[in-house]
């Protein structure tokens, strides 16, 4: 998909990721122990992380496409392609087991690496490997 304004598009995308990563660090989510403390109910603070992030985007996702036909850069508002089925639920269960085991999820692993936690390279290598296995498995399933 070629963006009509590639430089601005790249700048906006980079700034969005930067803000997201900075927020992940501020929320303490980049520290896996903090996520594990949430999952064991020792500190429910992460409810406010999800709550605030969802509340802001609920307003944005629901209202902005009604006000404007196009985005600020003149592109279309995209829908997340997702269809719920049994396979997806199995994926969610596997994801949850991994999340509960190490307290890492993809965004915080990246932001945490940036903040200097080199251990997360191991988790990121695992995520890359998992995504590779998934793609190869989907390929065999389709064949």
């Amino acid at each position: 998909m070629s963006a009509p304004r590639p430089v601005l598009d790249a700048a906006a995308t980079l700034a969005s990721g930067l803000l997201f990563g900075f927020g992940l660090a501020w929320s303490t989510m980049i520290r896996p122990e903090s996520v594990l403390a949430f999952l064991t109910f020792d500190d429910l603070g992460l409810l406010f992380v999800l709550g605030c992030a969802v509340a802001i985007n609920l307003v944005i996702y629901q209202l902005v496409p009604r006000w404007r036909r196009q985005t600020l850069l003149g592109t279309e508002f995209q829908q997340r392609p997702f269809e719920l089925n049994g396979t997806a639920v199995v994926g969610g269960i596997l994801f949850g087991i991994g999340w509960g085991l190490c307290g890492v999820c993809p965004g915080p692993a990246l932001a945490g690496l940036g903040a200097g936690n080199g251990d997360l390279l191991v988790a990121l290598a695992g995520i890359f490997a998992g995504a590779l296995l998934h793609g190869l498995w989907e390929g065999r399933r389709a064949a």
Binding site: G17, L18, L19, F22, A25, T28, L72, L94, G114, G135
Partner: protein
Amino acid sequence: MLSSLFPNGIAPFAIGGSLMGLGVALLYVSTGRPGGVSTFFSSSWSWLLRTAFFRQASLVDSRNWRLIYTLGLILGGALYALLGLPMEASHIPAWKLAVGGLLIGFGARLGGGCTSGHGICGMASLSAGSLVMVVTFLGAGIVTAHLLRWLA
């Protein structure tokens, strides 16, 4: 009661969550893209692999912006550390990070998204499917974390 549920207060969580939300909102308002993170781990393989799965348009067409977005996430964490803002060290055993990472990568891709894609963008889109996925991985995560603490 409240202080035992929130021993670290709520301010860092509410501020951090709001900043994260603004990042995802900026991406959507400026480019129209839902800011899920986990697809990056599939779309990046399309540079190396020629299989039909990794050559599909949804991965090849999005791999550039996903790489830039990922770079932003890393830089956001780096900026936080460079500013000397409060941060505690982490000590998770490497085997847990490796096994957990594998399950997270496979599971997130099989499940069509992770905590950002389903948790933030899907919920903001009022997607019933995403809500089911969030309840599923939250439930599995809570059971796993409790089980491991009980075993330890």
